[in-house]
C-alpha cells in the first residue's frame, strides 16, 4: 500500500530479510521522555503513547513538563515542552527519576533534557532539525551529534522530517502542515519499538480530524510510516516487550488530576441532587478545571468566569446561600485574595469548596511548576479564629475522591473546605478505575423547611452544624452576616460571653470532623519501627516508591500519607509515636512538619525541596539512608 511504500523505500532493507525476523527483547519497565518545541506536539504524542501502553495493560505514570506561560521563540530552551512516561509490568508510583529513552525533536530539546538521562540512555533525534540556526537558538557552539558530547549514550539519528514528508507526498499539504505531522511519525516508530498496537491512536485520529479528512489522512500516514519504519529500518536490532502488569481489574481510563477534580465535584453535585456552581478566575494551573466543568452544563453545571478571585469566591458564597454546590478554584496568588470571603463563609457557616492547585511561589513564582507551600495559608490565612477543614489529593485519580469528599464534608458540616492539589497532579495522568456512581458515599441534602421554632444557628447535636435554610422557603426569612452574632438566632450581638461561645463552637465543629476520618494506614511496619516517612499530596508516588525500595533493602522504613490535614486523624499521634524517627517529606520548607511538631511534640524532621519539581525517588532514598545512619 502506498503508505508503507514511502518508508520502505526510505530505508531500504537488506535483501530477503523480512522485518518479522527481528527479535523481541523484554523489559519490566521503561521510562521514556518525548521532548520538542512547544509546537511539535510532544504532549499529544506522549498522551497517545500512554493510552496505547495503558491499553496494553501496563501500569503507568506520567509527568508532563510545560514551558513557562510565556511562549518562547521556536527552537529556544525556554520553548521546550516535554512529556515523560513510565510504563511497567509491575506496580509503579512515579514517572521515573531518569529517562532511559529520550526523543528530541530539536537541539534545544536535547540540551534541555540531557542532564536528566540515565547512563547509557537511548536518544532519538530528528537529524534534520540539527541545523546551525537551531544550534544557535539552543545555545550550542557546535553540533552535539558530532562533537562526541553524547558518547556515553546510544544515539539514533533519524530523518524524521524527510520520512514524514515522503509519507505525506501527494496530499498537497504545505510544509508547515507536513511538519506538524512529525509527532505522529515518532509515535508510530516508538509504538513499533515497544510493540504497541496503534489502533487506538488511529481511532482517536479519526474523531479528532473528523472535520478535516486531509489532515486525518496525513496523520494516519505519518503514524503508519513511523511504525513501518521501525519495523523495516536496520537501526533497531530488536523491539521490546513490556508485559502487562497485574493490576486491579475494572474499567480503566487515563485521567489527569484536574479532570478528576472536575469529575469529583460533578459527581458530588449529582449525588447531592443539587446544581453545581463554579465561580472562578482563570489562573495556571487551575484553569482547566473551569474549562472542563464548563462543558457539563446539561447536568446542570453553572460556570461563572468572574472579574477576579474575590468575585469568584463571593459568587460561590451567594450560590451556596441559594442552595447550590458551590465551588471556587484557584492557585497560590488567588488564595490570598479569597481569604476574606472564606472567613465570611466560616462565620455564616455556608458550604463552600476552595480548590487550590498549588504552584511554586512566593508571589508569581513559577506558575507552571508544582509546590506544596500553601498548606499553612490554608490553615491560617485568615484574620481571627477561622478554622477550615483541609483535604489533599495524593495522585491524579485521587483528586476525584478528594473533591467528592470535600463536598460531602462541606455540606454535612456547613463549612468551607479547602481541597489542595498541585500543578503536578493537575497535569499528570494515571490509569483510573472508573467508580460506580451507585457505590459513591451518599451526600444527603436537607434544607430547613419548618418555620416552627426555626433558628438559623440552632445546631445538630452530633455534627454541630446549622440548618441550611435557603431563600424561597416560606416562614424562614432570616438575616446572616459577618458581624459577631447571637447563638441560635444569629442576630447581631456584642456580648463577650456569646462571642467566645461562638468562636469555640465553630472550632469544636471542625475538630469534630476527626470522628469521620478512617484509621491511619501504615504502609510497612504496623506496630512501629525505625523510621516513618510522613507525607501528603503529590509526594505520595516518590515516597511510596522509595519506601518500597528501602524495605527491599530490609530497612525498617514505613510510610503514612495524609489525606486529611485539618483536622488531623485522631490516631495520628499514637501512630507516629510508634516510630523512633519521623521524617516529613514536603515540597516546601516544612509546613506539615510544623503542624505535627506543635500537635504531638514529636521531634520530627523534614525532607524538603522547593525547586518547582517533584521529588526523585533517589532523593528520598538518600535521606532515608542518611537518617538511618545518623
Amino acid at each position: 500500500p502506498p503508505e508503507s511504500a514511502a518508508p520502505a523505500s526510505a530505508a531500504p532493507r537488506a535483501k530477503g530479510e523480512p522485518a518479522i525476523r527481528k527479535e523481541h527483547a523484554h523489559r519490566d519497565h521503561v521510562v521514556i521522555r518525548f521532548a520538542g518545541d512547544s509546537g511539535d506536539g510532544m504532549q499529544l504524542a506522549g498522551m497517545q503513547f500512554t493510552t496505547e501502553s495503558a491499553l496494553a495493560g501496563n501500569d503507568i505514570a506520567t509527568l508532563p513538563d510545560f514551558p513557562a506561560e510565556i511562549r518562547a521563540p521556536a527552537g529556544t530552551l525556554a520553548g521546550v515542552s516535554g512529556f515523560q512516561l513510565n510504563f511497567s509490568s509491575n506496580e509503579i508510583f512515579t514517572p521515573g527519576d531518569e529517562p532511559e529513552v529520550l526523543i528530541a525533536m530539536n537541539p534545544a530539546a536535547l540540551k534541555a533534557n540531557l542532564g536528566d538521562l540515565a547512563p547509557n540512555a537511548v536518544i532519538m533525534v530528528d537529524k534534520e532539525a540539527f541545523t546551525d540556526s537551531n544550534f544557535k537558538r539552543a545555545g550550542y557552539d557546535n553540533n552535539p551529534l558530532t562533537d562526541g558530547s553524547l558518547d556515553k549514550f546510544q544515539v539514533f539519528q533519524i530523518e524524521v522530517t524527510r520520512l514524514t514528508t515522503l509519507a505525506l507526498h501527494g496530499l498537497g499539504l504545505n510544509n508547515r502542515a507536513v511538519f506538524r505531522c512529525r509527532n505522529l511519525f515518532v509515535l508510530g516508530m516508538v509504538s513499533w519499538l515497544y510493540q504497541r498496537p496503534i489502533e487506538s491512536t488511529m481511532s482517536w485520529l479519526e474523531n479528532r480530524f473528523r472535520k478535516t479528512p486531509e489532515l486525518l489522512e496525513a496523520n494516519r500516514r505519518a503514524l503508519k510510516a513511523g511504525y513501518n519504519f521501525g519495523e523495516t529500518t536496520e537501526m533497531f536490532a530488536s523491539s521490546y516487550e513490556v508485559a502487562p502488569a497485574k493490576i486491579r481489574p475494572g474499567r480503566y481510563r487515563n485521567i489527569t488530576g484536574n479532570s478528576a477534580t472536575a469529575l469529583g465535584f460533578l459527581a458530588a453535585a449529582v449525588k447531592a441532587g443539587r446544581p453545581l456552581f463554579l465561580g472562578s478566575y482563570p489562573i495556571t494551573p487551575a484553569s482547566d478545571i473551569l474549562h472542563e466543568l464548563s462543558t457539563f452544563k446539561n447536568f446542570p453545571v453553572y460556570t461563572f468566569q468572574a472579574e477576579d478571585e474575590i468575585a469568584g469566591v463571593c459568587s460561590a458564597i451567594g450560590a451556596a446561600f441559594g442552595g447550590a454546590i458551590a465551588i471556587t478554584t484557584t492557585s497560590g496568588p488567588g488564595m490570598n485574595l479569597k481569604a476574606e470571603a472564606v472567613g465570611l463563609a466560616v462565620k455564616v457557616e455556608l458550604p463552600l469548596i476552595i480548590a487550590d492547585i498549588q504552584r511554586a511561589g512566593p508571589s508569581t513564582g513559577m506558575p507552571t511548576k508544582p509546590e506544596q507551600a500553601d498548606l499553612l495559608t490554608a490553615m491560617y490565612g485568615r484574620h481571627g479564629e477561622s478554622p477550615v477543614p483541609i483535604i489533599a489529593a495524593a495522585t491524579p485519580s485521587d483528586c476525584f475522591e478528594c473533591a467528592y469528599e470535600a463536598v460531602r464534608i462541606a455540606i454535612k458540616y456547613m463549612t468551607p473546605v479547602f481541597l489542595l492539589t498541585d500543578g503536578q497532579l493537575a497535569n499528570g495522568a494515571e490509569p483510573w478505575v472508573l467508580p460506580d456512581p451507585d457505590k459513591l458515599a451518599p451526600i444527603p441534602v436537607e434544607f430547613a423547611k419548618d418555620p416552627k421554632g426555626f433558628l438559623p444557628f440552632a445546631r445538630d447535636e452530633e455534627t454541630l452544624s446549622r440548618p441550611w435554610a435557603v431563600p424561597g422557603t416560606p416562614g424562614l426569612e432570616h438575616r446572616i452576616g459577618g458581624l459577631s452574632s447571637e447563638n441560635l438566632t444569629g442576630n447581631i450581638s456584642y456580648s463577650p460571653a456569646n462571642n467566645e461561645l461562638m468562636v469555640r463552637t465553630r472550632a469544636r465543629k471542625i475538630a469534630g470532623i476527626a470522628r469521620e476520618i478512617p484509621p491511619t494506614e501504615v504502609f510497612g511496619d504496623q506496630d512501629g519501627g525505625e523510621l516513618l516517612v510522613l507525607g501528603w499530596g503529590s509526594t505520595f508516588g516518590p515516597i511510596r516508591e522509595a519506601v518500597k525500595q528501602a524495605r527491599g533493602r530490609n530497612q525498617s522504613v514505613s510510610h503514612v500519607h495524609l489525606r486529611y490535614l485539618n483536622p488531623l486523624p485522631s490516631d495520628l499521634g499514637e501512630t507516629l509515636r510508634r516510630f523512633r524517627k519521623v521524617m516529613v517529606v514536603e515540597m516546601n520548607l516544612g509546613q506539615l512538619l510544623k503542624m505535627v511538631r506543635a500537635e504531638y511534640l514529636i521531634d520530627a524532621f523534614g525532607c524538603n525541596k522547593v525547586q518547582g519539581r517533584p521529588f526523585k525517588v533517589s532523593e528520598i532514598n538518600n535521606r532515608i539512608n542518611r537518617s538511618l545512619e545518623g
Partner: protein, 332 residues
C-alpha cells in the same frame, strides 16, 4: 397572598440603629412601603449588602438578608441570582462600599446586566468609620483623613454606571419619598441590573450635602426632573430649560426667544444624552429620575438558557456515561 402583604410585613424585629435623623430611615421607609406593591412573597425577596451604615439595611427588612463583606455584595448577589433566578434580589451599598472598595464588582455586574436592583446610598462620606471622605466627596472636603481638604476629583456614580453601559441608571433623593417610590418601582420593573443612586443625608458627618436638592425653598431651581419624552424644563416657575448650542447644552430662560420646542427632549434610550445629562455641573441643574433605560439579555437568563439548551441537546447529564467517555479499557 403575597399581594395581601402590607408595609408592616416588611419590618423586621431588629432595632434600627442608625443615628437619629439619618437619611437612611427615609429610604428604609420608602422601600418598606414600596415592597407590597410588587406583589412578591416575602420569602422570595433577598437583600444583600456590603459594609457601611447603609449596608445595615438588610437587618431591618423582614425578608431573607445577607450582610456580607465590604464591597462584595454585587458578586455575592450574582452567584445567588444566577442559580436562583426565581428570587427577587436587591443589593444595598454605599458610596464607599460600592464605589471605593467595590467599584470593580459594581461595573462588572452592570456590564453583565445581572437581574438585580442595586441601591447605592450616596452620602458622599464614610459614615460607619466615622467620617472620612469618599470617592464621591467634592474636591477640598475637610474630613478626618483630609485635614487640609481632599484633592481627588470625585466620581459621578451615574457616569460610572453609564461608562459600564448599565441598562438602567437612575437617581433619587432620600427625602423625596414620592419620587423615590417611583424610582424604586421603575428599578424593580426593569429586567436586568437596575442601578439607582439615592442621595442620602448623613447628618452626623456630612450634614446638608444635598441641601440644594432637598431644601424645599431652593430645590426647584436646582433639580431637573427627567421624564421620558418631555422637554428638559426646571425652575420654581418652570421657566428654564436645556437647549443645545452646537454640541454643548446650555440653560435658557423660556420666553425671551426660546420656546419649549427649542429644548432638548429627554430620551431614556439615548445613552449619549444620558451621559451628557450626568455631566451637568453648576450652573446647570442636577438631573434626577431615569437617565437611561434599555433592554439587553440578562446574564442570569442567558446562562440558564445555555443550560437548558445543553440539556435539550445532550439530554440531562448522566454521570455513568460521562465517566465512561473517551478511551477506556477493561482489565480482568
Amino acid at each position: 397572598m403575597a399581594s395581601a402583604l402590607t408595609r408592616k410585613d416588611f419590618i423586621s424585629d431588629q432595632e434600627v440603629r442608625w443615628c437619629p435623623g439619618c437619611g437612611d430611615y427615609a429610604i428604609l421607609a420608602a422601600v418598606q412601603k414600596a415592597m407590597p406593591e410588587f406583589g412578591i412573597p416575602r420569602e422570595n425577596i433577598v437583600f444583600i449588602s456590603g459594609i457601611g451604615c447603609s449596608s445595615q439595611f438588610p437587618y431591618y427588612m423582614n425578608t431573607y438578608g445577607f450582610h456580607t463583606i465590604h464591597g462584595r455584595a454585587p458578586a455575592i448577589a450574582t452567584g445567588l441570582k444566577v442559580t436562583r433566578p426565581d428570587l427577587d434580589v436587591w443589593v444595598v451599598t454605599g458610596d464607599g462600599d460600592g464605589l471605593s472598595i467595590g467599584g470593580n464588582h459594581l461595573i462588572h455586574v452592570l456590564r453583565r446586566n445581572v437581574d438585580l436592583r442595586i441601591l447605592l446610598f450616596n452620602n458622599r462620606i464614610y459614615g460607619l468609620t466615622k467620617g472620612q471622605y469618599s470617592p464621591t466627596s467634592e474636591v477640598g472636603k475637610i474630613t478626618k483623613s483630609t485635614p487640609l481638604g481632599s484633592i481627588d476629583y470625585p466620581f459621578s456614580p451615574i457616569k460610572v454606571a453609564l461608562g459600564a453601559h448599565a441598562t438602567f441608571v437612575a437617581r433619587s433623593i432620600d427625602v423625596e419619598q414620592k419620587h423615590l417610590g417611583e424610582m424604586l418601582k421603575r428599578s424593580h420593573d426593569h429586567r436586568g441590573a437596575a442601578f439607582l443612586e439615592i442621595l442620602q443625608n448623613c447628618n452626623i458627618y456630612n450634614d446638608g450635602a444635598f441641601n440644594d436638592l432637598s431644601d424645599k425653598a431652593i430645590k426647584a431651581d436646582h433639580q431637573l426632573v427627567l421624564e421620558h419624552g418631555k422637554p428638559l424644563i426646571f425652575g420654581k416657575n418652570r421657566d428654564r430649560g436645556i437647549r443645545m448650542n452646537g454640541m454643548r447644552p446650555e440653560v435658557v430662560t423660556l420666553g425671551n426667544g426660546a420656546g419649549e420646542s427649542d429644548l432638548v427632549v429627554h430620551d431614556e434610550q439615548n445613552l449619549s444624552l444620558a451621559f451628557m445629562l450626568a455631566n451637568f455641573e453648576t450652573p446647570m441643574p442636577s438631573p434626577v429620575g431615569v437617565f437611561y433605560a434599555t433592554e439587553r439579555p440578562t446574564y442570569d437568563a442567558a446562562i440558564n438558557r445555555q443550560l437548558d439548551d445543553a440539556k435539550a441537546k445532550q439530554g440531562p447529564g448522566n454521570l455513568r456515561t460521562l465517566l465512561n467517555r473517551g478511551d477506556v479499557w477493561d482489565v480482568n
